[in-house]
Amino acid sequence: MSAVESSRRLPVLPVWLIATIAGAFLLLYAYVIWNALIFLIQQANGVEGLTGYGWFVLLLPVVFPIVVFAGAFAIGWKRRAAQFALVLLTGLGLVAAFWLNIFAYAAATTALYGA
């Protein structure tokens, strides 16, 4: 029991492996960020423009992946490689779901547009 706990406290992976796994997933997270940013700019330059609330809502999916990546990294980096990768992948799924939530909201409401 105590052996298991102490081994969980220490990083079990070499730094290069942590960096490789995190880096590969960071690219995917960044892809979502860029998509959200492009969508934000697109809507801001649209015919109707964005309200202040619209800016706030459409900036959320830009910030959210950063927060989730940080959280997933903190949870996973001291674990085994497969667990680390699975945590990061789950975070990516959460980010994708959030992005679709925002997109569905942006498509369903008129509150974001027309400043």
Partner: protein, 201 residues
Amino acid sequence: MGGTRSTLNDVTPRPDDDALTWDGDDDPTLDVGANARAGDDALDEGTDAASPASDASRPAVSLPAGYTAVGKGSESLAARPGGASADAESAERVADADAEGEPHGMGNAALVGIGIFAGVYLLLTLGWILGAARLQLVAQLFLAPVAFQITLWLAVLALPLWFATVFWLTSGKRSWLRFTLLAAGALLLIPWPFILAGVFR
């Protein structure tokens, strides 16, 4: 301590308990550590062989002073001298097993809970598939098709991934942690595209 808890229902196995047991419940591979050990002595004293699991799953009980057990299965109670101390002892053993927090298999309640969560997750995943597919019409006006496809399938897979991750990372931990994380996942990953499509159209 245990004496105040026990009622007549606890000490007299009633025939309708049989309705709550299945054939094969006494399979030794189904033993879940502490409970099985606590029930062992009851079994040794010749309890009804048809429903040993119902006895094993129940903490060892004793009669309060002045009561006499009668009927089917009562001999195991009558034969135990100083029931209160034996009860305290076995309760201690159970408490010890809990305090160690070692992975000793899942209890029935935990299994049922996991099953319920699995069903909820399945329904929510279905909601994601339907909701996200409905978004496709609007999305092709604004997003790159490839980006949308990737995002869609990641969102659909989010719930199964969350379930698997929680299951793997909390194996051997306390079960309340597992259930809290599963509940959090279900709340975080409510399929809003599906719900919004129903509200606004």
